[in-house]
């Protein structure tokens, strides 16, 4: 039942990959079949998208701020995409949240913190040093130091 939980998922992700790979003719038949299988999605889409899901902010500087933030927030339905990339209705609602909060004068990092407080680090693509992630930052530094030590010894031995 897991895959049934988000009826929008397969279709939204599938669409996006197609556009990216530009292999449209080969998959047109498959798309039609998938669309036919996903009829409940049509009902989901019948409610108009949130006002700021697809509409940019008036102020170009604010829109740029929103765009930068949206590219580093994970779509919770299409989990390998950012909310800027995804056509899932929930991603549209998240873009609406981001844009309307930025328009209200909220700082982008405050909006990220608001989402992280609800979904954990998982919702953010911007890596943060924390109790569980510190080895990711520490190991490359240790490897680099080790490599320098080995080279140092070898060069030192030859001269």
């Amino acid at each position: 039942m897991t895959q049934l939980r988000h009826p929008g998922k397969s279709r939204d992700c599938f669409h996006y990959r197609l556009a990216k790979q530009r292999q449209i003719p080969a998959f047109v038949g498959m798309t039609i079949i998938l669309l036919a299988l996903c009829s409940p999605v049509a009902a989901q889409q019948s409610l108009p998208p949130a006002p700021y899901a697809y509409k940019q902010l008036e102020d170009p500087r604010q829109e740029a701020e929103a765009q930068t933030l949206m590219e580093t927030l994970r779509c919770l339905k299409c989990q390998s995409q950012s909310i800027a990339d995804s056509d899932a209705p929930m991603a549209g609602d998240m873009r609406h949240q981001v844009r309307s909060r930025i328009a209200a004068g909220e700082e982008p990092e405050a909006i990220r913190a608001w989402l992280v407080a609800r979904y954990g680090d998982y919702v953010s693509y911007a890596p943060a040093v924390s109790e569980t992630t510190w080895p990711l930052f520490a190991i490359p530094v240790l490897l680099l130091l080790g490599a320098i030590a080995v080279i140092w010894r070898r060069v030192g031995r030859r001269s």
Binding site: V41, L47, M90, R118
Partner: protein, 175 residues
């Protein structure tokens, strides 16, 4: 000295083994809410169905624990969980619903077909409350205590075996 030469290969084999093992493990796509233990955000939702009132945060602060079910008429697993929500209602549990991105006529059709276990149904057209409580899909069911604090999150459809768990969590929330 020769022995040490095998270490890089052994490390490589170890990484390969870990990667191969992880590939065989089923992917966990659930994103748990980090709002468990936190109060509900402030909201005031219009009624999603003419027969039931809408939903506000104040409705949760009457001292009685209840279930908050996040669902939608377009959601297939919501059909599967409908009979189990009905079982919970018959056990005396108060269930309130939030319909995500839904139209009144679709809600009415769903409830007429699959039953209506809800005492109140709010309409969340922009998924604002859903985002506010850290829910990442439909259906999800939250146990809310009598002070409006989120006590437990159940992700996915409620099945027969989850009924007892939810009753227990409600009992804990009442204490």
């Amino acid at each position: 000295m020769r022995f040490w030469w095998w270490i890089p290969l052994a490390l490589f084999a170890l990484f390969l083994g870990v990667a191969a093992y992880q590939l065989t493990q089923p992917k966990d796509e659930f994103v748990p809410s980090t709002m468990v233990g936190q109060p509900l955000p402030d909201f005031d939702l219009r009624a999603a169905h003419p027969d039931r009132p809408g939903l506000t945060t104040a409705d949760f602060r009457d001292g009685r624990p209840r279930l908050l079910n996040i669902w939608a008429s377009w959601c297939l697993p919501c059909i599967a969980e409908a009979p189990h929500l009905e079982t919970l209602r018959r056990e005396g549990v108060d269930i309130v619903g939030i319909a995500i991105r839904d139209r009144p006529e679709d809600v009415a059709r769903f409830l007429a077909t699959h039953g209506n276990p809800y005492s109140r149904i709010g309409a969340d057209d922009l998924s604002e409350v859903q985002l506010g409580i850290g829910s990442s899909g439909v259906p999800e069911t939250f146990v809310i205590d009598g002070q409006g604090i989120i006590r437990h999150q159940h992700i996915g459809d409620v099945r027969a075996e989850h009924v007892a768990v939810l009753l227990e969590k409600l009992q804990e929330a009442a204490e």
